[in-house]
């Protein structure tokens, strides 16, 4: 039992807190292993790189949108903002003749600007976030098309001198081994965002706003500023997402990006961020994104047609959140201590005492030990039996009460009915 190495309380704490947090990562590992065993060639380095590649652009979006969701808002525009920024940058590079560095800066600037506008609309003009960012989704989609003149923007290939930026997200060594450097960027951004959320004023205020905006305001928190900052972070993340998209997929099409936001939000929610605000973590979000990415790469490996992917992703989104609800319910459920339980824990303490006495005498008189052992065994036997009997009795009693209550309910209803007539 718990006696070995870890005491009961430690174990329970781990079960209540640790396991709960481990469940999502565990699910990720299980899904990965499942596809590994049943999919075609899934356990390969290539597949791993593919999964990572496919996770970047949604990943950054999801990290950014996590900030917004924690404030109790939502950002539907992230996907189209990322694509709009990327296409503007691509147009600058290809059509306006900018060099790559400034073009990338432009991407970040455009995305941040959209974030700022979203923030202004929500925080200053008090527009509902859903509708403000829905409008911004359409606007950014339109702007991308207008700036690029409805042409797709192709970023330079690796062979081009300007193609250096692709190495940020995927480095291909001279002997053609792909190194997913983007994963480092993703983890790096996650860690930075995590620190911002948990260790800085901004992060704490974002949580406070999400939990009770009015209380935060009346505590002197500059609610508008910090709420806005969450949308700006979301914009910045969209900018990184746009660059990663360009690096991995080369071509950015106009009017693209609608639908990305749903996966980003799904990732955050699978990772435990609550849409009602005040609760969330970027690490959880990252796990959520990876779960979706593994699914997306894994199902084709099982020779399932593309359309089964959407289907299963949907199922997993629902299942993940259901599981989350179930497990929080489980952990918050209270185990009521009955007399039987009290008796048992009492006895257990007694036994532990005796055992403790034994081991503390240490190498003492060797006769004591077998005697002590026997005593312990006898006690354990007694405890077991008595506990069983008590439980049985308690259950019977509970059943009796319930039966009576049910009977009473029937009677009551009959009575009421009669009264009415």
């Amino acid at each position: 039992m718990a006696g070995t190495g870890m005491n009961g309380k430690q174990w329970r704490t781990l079960r209540d807190k640790g396991l709960q947090k481990l469940l999502a990562p565990l699910a990720l590992v299980l899904i990965y292993l499942f596809f590994g065993f049943f999919g075609r060639n899934f356990f390969s380095y290539n597949t791993l790189v593919n999964i990572l590649d496919a996770s970047y652009y949604i990943g950054f979006l999801a990290l950014g949108v996590t900030f917004v969701i924690i404030t109790g808002g939502i950002d539907l525009s992230v996907g189209t903002v990322a694509m709009c920024a990327a296409i503007v940058g691509g147009t600058a590079f290809r059509t306006w003749g900018w060099s790559m560095g400034p073009s990338l800066v432009l991407i970040m600037a455009v995305a941040t600007f959209f974030g700022l506008i979203n923030g202004l609309m929500v925080a200053k003009l008090k527009l509902p976030p859903f509708i403000a960012t829905l409008g911004m989704m359409m606007v950014s989609m339109g702007i991308g098309s207008i700036v690029s003149n409805v042409r797709s923007a192709a970023f330079p290939p690796r062979s081009d001198p300007s193609g250096w930026f692709r190495n940020i997200f995927k480095y291909i060594s001279p002997d053609r081994v792909a190194i997913p450097t983007g994963a480092l960027v993703l983890f790096g951004v996650t860690i930075i965002f995590h620190i911002i959320l948990t260790r800085t004023k901004m992060g704490r205020y974002i949580f406070a706003i999400g939990s009770n905006k009015e209380a935060a305001r009346l505590s002197g928190v500059k609610v508008e500023r910090w709420e806005m900052s969450a949308y700006i972070v979301s914009g910045i993340a969209a900018g990184i997402s746009g660059i990663s998209f360009a690096a991995v997929y080369t071509t950015v099409m106009p009017a693209q990006g609608q639908g990305f936001e749903l996966f980003a939000i799904a990732g955050a929610v699978i990772g435990g961020t609550s849409l009602s605000g005040g609760v969330g973590s970027v690490f959880g979000t990252l796990i959520g994104v990876f779960i979706m990415a593994v699914l997306r790469s894994g199902l084709p490996a099982m020779n399932l047609q593309a359309h089964y992917q959407t289907f299963f992703t949907g199922i997993v989104v629902i299942a993940a959140v259901l599981l989350d609800i179930y497990r929080t319910k489980k952990t918050s459920e209270v185990r009521v201590l009955t007399p039987a339980d009290l008796y048992r824990s009492d006895m257990q303490r007694k036994i532990d005492q005796i055992r403790g006495g034994l081991s503390s005498t240490g190498g003492g008189s060797s006769e004591d030990i077998p005697a002590g052992r026997e005593q312990i065994q006898a006690l354990q036997q007694e405890m077991k039996e008595t506990y069983r009997r008590m439980r049985r009795e308690e259950k019977a009693e509970a059943a009796r009460v319930e039966a009576e209550e049910k009977a009473a309910e029937r009677e009551f209803r009959a009575m009421l009915k009669k009264e009415k007539d």
């Binding site: 260790r199 009770n212 209380a215 505590s219 209270v334 009955t338 309910e409 009551f412």
Partner: protein, 506 residues
């Protein structure tokens, strides 16, 4: 109230147990209710009163114990079942639908329908509501949207709704917290009528004088345990308080101001005008002073406080802090100028309910714990721990989620927030609303201590004994204007009431 003739027991609870995460809220509580009896249920904050009555109505499931109702076992699994069986409850928190009309709220679930039963008959329902209000002597428009009513009126609607059911048992969980004296009187009339019809009532309140006025018996709870039941007539107020807290508390008015005459003025408000309610308010607050703000409900005291604090826009007027004019446009400005505001509705305006004690306590003062961009968690924890201990907040740890604390302990966390912020000028709006006597006297002691340390306090309170006990000076408001200012030595219940009802002549 006079002795009841009836002794028929309609409700009896035995050994009720309930455990929430980390809190054993009910530890084998017994309770009984007679026909036509008004039975007070008292106890400190967090004693488990609300939880106990919730097990009776199926909102909270009891873990163990037996309920017997009309001589039969009874286990309500759903509020609707309890209601059908004739057990109704008026909740401590308002539980109504803001976007529906008054009549729609009252008859929710029992709508009047046109012949055929498919379509609703709104007109008939409004007429029913109007008849109900007539009978209860309430002046409320059945077609008004509930959200547009004042809190007091909303509470009256909730009472009317409960009464409109055919009840055998009515539970009232602190129904008077938001009512005016007139409304309270109306409520008591209604209750007496119900009592005559044989309805048993459980009455939860922290106001001792009400208990003496309306109840037949008193049951006291402490820390989830049953302490005892007494006949109200035969028991003194001190005795009840003693049962609740295990010690005697004396409440006497302050004799004279503790503030020296030459104490500097820290806050001066000049011809303040804001919103609908604040018409013309001027007063000053001196260092180390507790300035009582008395007045009837709706006098505009809360709105004055909110306007000073920058929570609502100011239309006209000057505010000076320590001799300097200041422009406070947002609460952040106010906090920066050393103001702190403890709102009358802590759940809505004071606390982030799903964050921990720690996060709430430092919310106003996070800057202080910031070093090189990062928050120093050890310092936060140490300081929070210190205040939690000092204010005697009952909690397993500072990481407890605020939602799981009882009202009084929540209020202490809000106070801790402003103490950690080290604000010099504190506005306490109904600091003891819905708080038990024990916690009350702790908060009084705390306020006195703060004033002695040189902090200045504005205390808005609707309880005159409280005003008289705490204030150095009393400002009285009526209809958005200051109608008078009294030194504590000349203040009395009568003089305050006179000023509080001094309407503006036009």
């Amino acid at each position: 109230m006079e002795e009841r003739a009836e002794t028929e027991e309609i409700l009896s609870l035995k050994g009720i147990e309930k455990t929430f995460t980390g809190v054993r809220a009910l530890k084998g509580v017994d309770f009984s209710l007679l026909r036509g009896e008004v039975h007070a249920l008292v106890g400190e904050n967090g004693a488990g009163k609300s939880t106990l009555v919730k097990t009776l109505t199926g909102i909270v499931k009891k873990d163990a114990g037996e309920i017997s109702y009309l001589g039969r076992f009874f286990n309500p699994r759903h509020p609707k079942y309890a209601l059908e069986m004739g057990i109704g409850i008026i909740h401590q928190e308002l539980n109504m639908m803001d976007h529906l009309t008054v009549a729609q709220n009252i008859f929710i679930g029992r709508e009047s329908t046109r012949p055929g039963g498919l379509l609703l008959d709104e007109g008939e329902q409004n007429r029913r509501a109007a008849r109900l209000f007539d009978r209860l002597n309430m002046d409320i428009d059945p077609t008004a949207l509930l959200g547009t009513l004042t809190v007091g009126k909303q509470q009256m609607v909730e009472i009317a709704k409960a009464v409109s059911h055919d009840l055998r048992v009515l539970i009232l969980d602190e129904p008077t917290a938001a009512l005016t004296n007139n409304e309270i009187a109306e409520l008591f009339t209604i209750m007496r009528g119900l009592s005559d019809q044989g309805v048993g009532m459980i009455y939860i309140s922290h106001r001792m004088d009400e208990i003496g006025e309306i109840t037949h018996r008193v049951t006291v709870m402490r820390d989830g345990e049953y302490v005892g039941t007494r006949v109200t007539r035969d028991v003194s107020r001190d005795e009840i308080i003693n049962m609740m807290v295990g010690r005697v508390i004396f409440e006497t008015p302050k004799e004279k101001s503790a503030v020296p005459d030459d104490a500097p003025v820290v806050l001066k408000v000049d011809h303040l005008k804001a919103g609908r309610m604040v018409k013309d308010v001027s007063f000053s607050l001196r260092q180390g002073e507790i300035l009582g703000f008395a007045g009837l409900m709706g006098a505009g005291r809360t709105e004055t406080a909110r306007a000073i604090f920058g929570a609502d826009p100011v239309q006209r007027g000057m505010i000076e802090i320590k001799g300097r004019p200041v422009w406070i446009k947002t609460p952040a400005d106010a906090v920066a100028h050393g103001l702190g505001y403890l709102s009358e509705d802590r759940k809505r305006y004071g606390l982030a309910l799903n964050l921990s004690i720690r996060e709430n306590a430092v919310m106003a003062a996070l800057e202080r714990f910031e070093k090189n961009w990062f928050i120093q968690f050890r310092k936060v924890a140490a300081e929070t721990e210190a205040y939690i201990e000092k204010l005697r907040v009952k909690t397993p740890s500072i990481d407890q989620i605020i939602r799981n604390l009882s009202g009084g302990n929540q209020q202490k966390v809000v106070i801790a927030k402003w103490l950690i912020r080290n604000s010099d000028i504190l506005i306490f709006d109904e600091p003891t609303r819905g708080i038990d006597v024990g916690a009350k006297s702790e908060i009084y002691a705390l306020m006195t201590e703060l004033a002695e340390q040189g902090k200045s306090i504005i205390m808005i309170s609707s309880e005159l004994p409280e005003v008289l006990r705490m204030s150095d000076r009393v400002v009285v408001m009526c209809e958005g204007r200051i109608t008078g200012e009294l030194d504590i030595s000349e203040a009395s219940q009568e003089s305050i009431m006179k000023l509080a009802t001094m309407r503006n002549q036009e």
